[in-house]
């Protein structure tokens, strides 16, 4: 019984080492900023120059992650040709701008462009 439980837990969570990595590389570096905000909150001006820089760097890092997924696609996305991935994102962005910044319309159009292109290629 305990073997069965241990087996199903390990197939659900995988390697215990990976969970440790999740806590060290994912949970702690992320949570520290929330707790700092809780402890030090009040003394920081939301419009201060330092926070404008922080926001710009955070935005640029996120942009890098988006570029990474598009340029070095993981798994199944690698089966879509480069030009089609870039074209689909461009189409989604164009529709987003045309619809006065509707995220929903942009995401749907980008997806439709990619699936249609891939289907047409066969």
């Amino acid at each position: 019984m305990s073997d069965w439980l241990a087996n199903s837990l390990s197939s659900f969570f995988g390697d215990p080492h990976a969970l440790l990595v999740l806590v060290i590389a994912g949970f702690l570096p992320n949570e520290v900023w929330r707790m700092l905000g809780l402890w030090l909150g009040g003394g920081v001006d939301e419009g201060s120059e330092a926070l404008i820089w922080v926001r710009a760097v955070a935005t640029a890092i996120l942009a890098g992650v988006i570029a990474q997924i598009l340029v070095q696609p993981p798994g199944a996305l690698a089966s879509v040709p480069d030009w089609l991935r870039y074209g689909a994102v461009a189409a989604g962005f164009a529709v987003f701008m045309l619809t006065r910044r509707s995220i929903f319309a942009g995401v749907v159009s980008g997806e439709v462009a990619m699936v249609a292109g891939k289907w047409w290629l066969g």
């Binding site: 990595v21 999740l22 949970f27 120059e49 404008i52 710009a56 955070a58 935005t59 640029a60 980008g110």
Partner: protein, 224 residues
């Protein structure tokens, strides 16, 4: 009108987490691991950075630095929202869970909805909203993971494509200043260049340099 806006935000969040579930599957993480990351990290960008950096062979330290830098933006969010929940009798430990739930969607919703809630009920309201969104995201993560495992390649690719699309457009929507727009554009453009150097911390190098150039442009404009 209010409920429509809520629905659209929740839909985008749902799509994002379907994408994260699919990304985790295709980067060979377990379902329990990615669900754990949704509960513990509770920040879409940090989870994607964690999965892509670890998945592409970075060390734990490199991944932790990339996550920490991306998460600095949570600090001003927590600082700006928590005071609106505080009453004279509120202790810091009452706010720990509320602080954990703060991420971009909840931050936007708190600024929109908290003024309508009596002050002494705001912490409970935030806990309720946070648990509700967390539940939606756990379902979405599981759905994405399962779909990536079982669908034909075309649909699995479409689900993975949700992540860059949803993040690009929601970031573009949140751009308020010239520095935000420049940071987004330069960050997209610089990454492929820096990636050719294969340093292992490509995202950090391109992000910090693009962000700093964008901030420099803002500073220069403000002075002129």
């Amino acid at each position: 009108m209010r409920s429509v806006a809520t629905t659209v935000l929740t839909l985008v969040l749902f799509a994002t987490y379907v994408g994260i579930g699919a990304l985790a599957h295709d980067s060979h993480f377990s379902l329990g691991w990615v669900l754990g990351s949704t509960v513990l990290v509770w920040a879409g960008p940090a989870q994607i950075i964690l999965i892509t950096t670890l998945g592409s062979g970075a060390t734990v330290v490199q991944a932790a630095i990339a996550v920490a830098v991306s998460a600095i933006r949570l600090f001003p969010m927590v600082v700006s929202v928590l005071p609106t929940m505080r009453t004279a009798g509120t202790k810091r430990r009452h706010l720990v869970l509320a602080a954990h739930f703060i991420a971009v969607t909840l931050w936007v919703e708190c600024h929109r909805l908290l003024p309508l809630v009596p002050r002494e009920r705001r912490i409970a309201f935030t806990h309720g909203l946070g648990c509700g969104l967390l539940f939606v995201c756990l379902v979405a993560t599981t759905v994405g993971y399962g779909l990536a495992a079982n669908l034909p390649v075309l649909f699995a690719a479409a689900i993975l494509m949700l992540t860059p699309l949803a993040f690009l457009l929601s970031t573009a929507r949140n751009c308020r200043q010239i520095s935000d727009v420049l940071a987004l554009v330069l960050g997209l453009a610089l990454y492929p260049l820096v990636a050719t150097l294969q340093t292992g911390v490509d995202i950090l190098i391109s992000g910090i340099s693009a962000g700093t150039i964008a901030y420099g442009a803002h500073w220069w404009r403000a002075r002129a």
